[in-house]
Amino acid sequence: MTQASPLTAPDHLQHSAANDDARYEPSLATGRDYISLLKPRVMSLVIFTALVGLVIAPGHIHPVLGFTAILCIAVGAGAAGALNMWYEADIDAVMTRTANRPLPAGRIGRDEALAFGLILSVFSVVTMGLMVNVLAAGLLAFTIFFYAVIYTMALKRFTPQNIVIGGAAGAFPPMIGWAAATGAIGLEAILLFLIIFFWTPPHFWALSLSRADDYARAGVPMLPVVAGADETKRQILIYSAILLPVGMSPWLFGFAGALYAVFSIVTGLAMIVLSAQLLRADDTGANRIAKRLFGFSILYLFALFAVLLIEHSFGLTFGRLSW
């Protein structure tokens, strides 16, 4: 087990007269730096899951309004990412994975990132409310708040359950997509939410296992840092076991067909097998299996949502259960 150490922010992020003067220096930030503030890789999964929620929802939404809804969700998610980077610049600076982000690298000032995040947040929510519907806008606003305030400010530095509770923020996009299309929240949208919610812990803990030293240096109480690798592996297996029936739930509740059932069972079992291998692995093998589990978990979520999209788009209703 690795002990967490106190935060040590770099000089340019410390409060001082010199740094206060630096706030007024002409910026060196480029358009590319601002785009990287939006966490484009995270945004791509958000866009995809939101798109699936929007497309498989009953009823019809005009393609232009559907595009607008997805754009608002993407920009809102990016804004939440910018606010997260604004608040976590001190943590990012001491972690290898994030040290080259625009804020710790000094390419964007903290005030610029804060203003960028706030403006995009307001703009995406207001546009969603005016152009799509108020429920979707409200959910989008809550998601941004949940990620930027609840997860980033209230959970991440204080509890190893940070990504369990905070995972809800990443689970909302398909529900927002569904709300954009229907103006309501259906059982199906809640099931899609639960899939991502229970997927997040094994996904993120698999990554954090190989980055435990980084998190310890940054003082972030991730599970491997405060409870050790063995307990983290056990928790990964527990959540993977829960994920199997949750992943199957769209089929069990009758809104996905046989193709989805096969995919969710096979890939869900593969998650459990990888998690069990991780639990049994020694220190040298664990790192390799953890990386494999992390990569497979992305494929798992993408596959489930892609199959839902394919079944809906091609009218594949074979094997749907009716209760």
Binding site: S27, G31, L65, M131, N133
Partner: protein
Amino acid sequence: MSIVVDKNDNGVVLTEAQKRARRSRSIAIALALGALVILFYVITLVKGPGVLHRPL
């Protein structure tokens, strides 16, 4: 980053790197605003008078 002050007291003079960065930001802002204008125009055409109808 650095601030270069002109000898004749003409205020802050941007370095070449700062000018390039400002140009990059200006282009990004122009593209974003242009895209928004087009998007809002198309939405207005799609929704017609319903653009003022905002269901919960």
